[in-house]
Amino acid sequence: MNRYPLWKYAILAIALLVGLVYTAPNFFGEAPAVQVSSAKATLKLDSAFAPRVQQLLEEAGLKPDFVQFDGNSVKARLPETDAQIKAKDALSKALNPDPANPSYIVALNLLSRSPGWLTALHALPMYLGLDLRGGVHFLMQVDMKAALTKKAESLTGDVRTLLRDKNIRHAGISRDGDSLEVRFRERDTLTAAVALLSDQLPDLQWAESVDGGELKLRGTLKPAAARLVQEQALKQNITTLHNRVNELGVAEPVIQQQGLDRVVVQLPGVQDTAKAKDIIGRTATLEVRMVNESAEAREAERGGAAVPFGSERYLERNGAPIIVYRQVVLTGDNLTDAQAGFDGQTQEPAVHLTLDAKGSRIFRDVTRENIGKRMAILLFEKGKGEVVTAPVIRSEIGGGRVQISGRMTTAEAADTALLLRAGSLAAPMEIIEERTVGPSLGADNIDKGFNSVLYGLIAIAVFMCAYYGLFGVISTLALGFNLLMLVAILSMLQATLTLPGIAAIALTLGMAIDANVLINERVREELRGGAPPQLAIHNGYERAFATILDSNITTLIAGVALLAFGSGPVRGFAVVHCLGILTSMFSAVMFSRGLVNLWYGRQKRLKSVSIGQIWKPDAAANTAIKA
């Protein structure tokens, strides 16, 4: 009766194997590495870059363990820290000929030392949280009200243009918070305006009212449109943050949305919060200038003459030089939006820009006077400008809606739009939470967490083995198996391990032994009641199961509540706690039963089992059953 079919043993063996494989990477530690990523929003790395890094390293006399491309960056693992520093210097020198204007960021990083075949199985070590690794964590609140105001501002301009184009006379347009108000003198014009605006601006809903002798039309953003504005604002802020954080040369920054209006920024290895804040809070600027197309300027472009007075030389994205006037026509402040799309007539890929009221006016005047000439849009990052695009002005552009098209692929249009938006934050952000942890403290936390688990486990193991004999050994093995499964699952999920997470592992193990105590006590009780050993084992496991299930459900309820309402560190605790409860069910019941069956199940005439001393109240002399 205490025999498992082969498939059950097979499941256990597979679980054990998978557990070992996925837990293993955590024990190999980390090796020094260098990471090369793009320093410019205009430069993208691809897989062809990895061989180049390999070649550069070999030229410098270094032998990297491997060089790999992983989506955004190229990483090379090196045998020791000396080689790592040399590699960093060699790569910086070769890739960035002008150190003042680097195209690539070469950063020091750590890569898992686990062998390639484990990595190929996607068996990767857990991430260490900032409290274990050291670094800085920011939680930023995006001012969504400002994003909506900005949108309303740009819509006000649209309304004004639309009404003027259709010759609908109004008595004034004003913005009030994130809604806008148009006043009219006559009923007819109002009706015409409502028809036009509802048709042309589907994002707004309109309400009429009468105030004194004046008719008023109040436009508010529809909830769906407002939500979209907020989503885009958040997305743009995250993109902008990515660009800025890249500059810090942090190996593995985390920039994530949290909730509807928050962004988490985590920078491992950074302790210099002042610098980090400075860079995160900085504003890149966008400028529109006219291109100098005079003969001297053409000559200067070719490098044949000096740059004419009042002009400057910049590079286009393809590297071609271009001479533009110093005078700034517009700045990014007047640009409210940039989106990739298609030309209405030719269906060519295009970039659509939206300007605010002031910007539209200036743009109309400039374009009227400069038809046929080129205008350049420059992006200034870190004080250095680069021409994003330099289109030819084909006609006067009024109304603040600008379209740049021609000789562009869809991807290029999307890139350009991103670049034009990347300069600025869609809405201001405020740091509402900040944590820094020093690296020595992080290492200390790992040791302390590890030691707590280790010594606790040893104490439990010693007690269980002494008290329950072989059954105690089996319980201990089951507990070890539980730990293995838990770490393996966390590694598979690529969870971030934090100190509360380690505490949860310890606590879960401490609670998980309950299941084995239940089983062992029950088996003893059956034996005390006079049941033969095989039957006692069988009944013990069967009868304890319902109680184990019960006790785990109440604990799980608490775990789920923490998961649902907890945030930050508590969430890490809750995830581990919940997973641990599930793995403990499997290990305590199935794994330990498997071991018991393997040991005792095959013995036909089992006389006694080793589960410690069974004391019977009615027997004067202790008739202990011992193995």
């Binding site: 509402i432 939470e433 936390n445 302390k448 030691n451 707590s452 401490g510 006590e521």
Partner: protein, 343 residues
């Protein structure tokens, strides 16, 4: 080895009144301290700034305190943390102080008080990870280093407090529903009263000793709540089974029998969990200290309350055989999913 050599059922319920009076007194004391002293909430709930610095020499707390008080940034708490060289500084939210710059300012002031100057340094750790940090340098030594800092804005703190209360409510409700489905209402009420009394007592301890109540402690309280409810579940299971098996016993006798026959498991399980928690308390360092402390208090009172309080309340509520054993004709209903759920 067999620790529990019990010949006869221990008459726990004869002393039920005494236990309940002890509980009531502890409970009232806990409530009293909660109201008079209040919880010492961590900045996660209140908002504010915490800075942990390590001095090269044992720190002069008085000097640190007077240095920071001279900055006029609100009332400051300065204390040792872990060792004589580590100092923890707590700065609550104060009007007119820009919190997000506070850490830098405080560290700068502390550094200058030690005769050093702040400089940014780029370094590489032994493992080969680049580290950029602000260092307080005075010649070749670092008199003081910034170990950790944390700033929580007021809106975050308020949210966390609300979320924490919601989590507690959710756990209590979830467990009540579960117990009501699993047993009948008298047990559900008894278990939840007993275990809430645990929670209040843990909070009472934190209020009385003014231990810091952080998010981690809240997590510990909730985890221990779920954990000690299952203790009550085990005993109630046993009570139900005993009602079925021994038809002539009176309810107090049934309860005594149930508690006596589960006491060995109760103590061994809690003892094992406590060993783990003790290990955290001793080796886990200051960060896990209050977390482990909350668990310790919770586990100890968990045993007491689920054994002596929950069962006693169920007895006062008047559980009868008829409440639990629905069909009188059958001893054990094989289709009852709850039969056999015993220790």
């Amino acid at each position: 080895m067999e620790f529990f050599r019990i010949r006869r059922d221990i008459p726990f319920m004869r002393h039920a009144l005494v236990f309940n009076i002890i509980s009531l007194v502890t409970f009232l004391a806990a409530v009293f301290f909660l109201f008079t002293r209040g919880l010492h909430l961590s900045i996660e709930f209140t908002g504010g700034t915490v800075i942990e610095v390590a001095y090269a020499q044992p720190a002069d707390i008085g000097k640190v305190r007077s240095t920071i008080e001279a900055m006029k940034v609100g009332d400051t708490q300065v204390q040792n943390f872990g060792s004589a060289r580590d100092v923890l500084i707590r700065l609550p939210l104060a009007d007119g102080v820009k919190q997000s710059e506070l850490v830098g300012r405080v560290f700068d002031t502390l550094c200058r008080a030690e005769g050093g100057a702040i400089e940014a340094r780029q370094g590489v750790s032994d493992k080969g990870e680049s580290i950029s940090r602000q260092v307080c340098a005075a010649g070749n030594v670092e008199p003081v280093t910034l170990q950790r800092s944390e700033f929580v804005g007021p809106q975050v703190g308020k949210e966390l407090a609300v979320d924490g209360a919601m989590a507690l409510g959710f756990v209590v409700l979830g467990i009540m529903i579960y117990l009501a489905l699993r047993f009948e209402w008298k047990f559900a009420v008894a278990a939840i009263v007993a275990n809430l009394h645990d929670v209040i007592i843990i909070l009472g301890f934190f209020a009385f000793f003014q231990w810091e109540f952080s998010l981690a402690v809240l997590a510990a309280v909730l985890a221990v709540l779920g954990y000690s409810v299952n203790e009550s579940v085990v005993i109630f299971d046993r009570i139900r089974e005993t009602f079925r098996r021994f038809r002539k016993m009176s309810p107090p006798e049934v309860i005594d029998h149930a508690i006596t026959s589960t006491i060995s498991r109760t103590i061994i399980t809690h003892g094992s969990t406590q060993m783990m928690v003790l290990s955290m308390l001793i080796f886990g360092g200051p960060t896990l200290y209050y977390f482990a402390l909350a668990l310790t208090v919770g586990i100890l009172f968990g045993i007491y309350s689920s054994v002596f309080v929950a069962a006693a309340i169920a007895m006062w509520l008047g559980i009868k055989r008829e409440d639990l054993v629905k069909s009188g004709s059958k001893e054990i209903d094989p289709n009852d999913p709850n039969s056999g759920a015993v220790v």
